[in-house]
Symmetry: C2
Amino acid sequence: MPKQPSTVAPKVSTEELILEAAQQVFLEKGMSGARMQEIADRAGINKALLHYYFRSKEQLFKLIVGRAVGTLLPRMLALLESDLELFEKIRRVVREYITFVSANSFLPLFVVNEINRNPEFFFKSITRKEKPRLDAFHRQVAEAVAEGRIRPMASTELLMNMMSMAVFPFMGKPIFQAVLALSEADFQVEMERRRTEVAEFVIRAIQA
Amino acid sequence: MPKQPSTVAPKVSTEELILEAAQQVFLEKGMSGARMQEIADRAGINKALLHYYFRSKEQLFKLIVGRAVGTLLPRMLALLESDLELFEKIRRVVREYITFVSANSFLPLFVVNEINRNPEFFFKSITRKEKPRLDAFHRQVAEAVAEGRIRPMASTELLMNMMSMAVFPFMGKPIFQAVLALSEADFQVEMERRRTEVAEFVIRAIQA
DNA sequence: TAATGGATTAACCGTTTGGTTAACTTCTGA
DNA sequence: TCAGAAGTTAACCAAACGGTTAATCCATTA
């Protein structure tokens, strides 16, 4: 038998331990700031064992980046391409994205950083699978404009606005906290409110 | 005489050369990714001379961060605290911010990174000068709400939305380019449009 | 139970990196 | 004109770092 989960120790595999530790360290410090020794320490293993499982720092890093991008982008694209009614879609997209980012607040900055630092790698890794065409979303917006349900507006602009308002406050959290004098609790309350308010803000801005 | 600008060589001071080179390298690679040797090379000088002017990498880095934060934040706060009429203020803030970030597109990501990596240092460095109270802006929004000129809306939310839409598209540029299939020229056209459109988007969303 | 192969470790290695030293050059002012 | 200060350099150093080696541990199985 390949696994015999003891009743006392949950016994997480060493590989998972490493990946978890690597994710922590890379998200906190970035590629160049991360240290293989620290990853080993947090995983509770030897540094040599790290190279035994993942040949090099770069390989391990690319794996973590792939995981991070893979949990952020598909989530967004799938909802945008669903066949929900436009306003309902806006509400769902904003709500789900803010909820997810709330629980993974270091992820967006990490992903944005790495994609800016190494765009070619990113381009390849997403076009390798299916090219993320937002045809349905573009069409949906164009139709809503044509039917006069919303004001003339490019779907690209709409998308940028939604995503910006959903994600950026988490990246700029310390800045907003300082400038707006928000405590930790204040900030969380604010983000909780945005979960619904951002969508309504967008809808008011676009409806005819 | 302290300076005798030759007619042939403009003769930039070594210190400025270093700061310029350091800014380039730090913005591109971050603190841990930057190399003192590369900064020296780009400044066209010896590495020892770098330490002669700026004792350590950390000191040089803090200087660059200070300069970066100092060119981003005051610009925003001053306009927000000016006594322009609210809608006009929104138009001006968005326009000026997008224009500035267009010309310094690496700066926001750098600043956001560093502030997240080292929030205490940032908090100190801005509260040391005058504390950035946005009293005028908060009051202005509250009044506009009371007078029924705009819908009930917290000024914090309004500020976050404006700033997010102005800044984030530049940080997420490669992502948006990939997902929306935008060429370099397409992207620039889009940003040019946003220079005015974002403000109108905000105004439509908030007006009663 | 002995052999096999994967898992794990301590010790080590070569390179890179931030920083220093000591000497040399250039500038400045008395 | 010349002495001292400021500017600049090549060579060097110790620490940190990613990565390797060779030996040991340990579970499986024949």
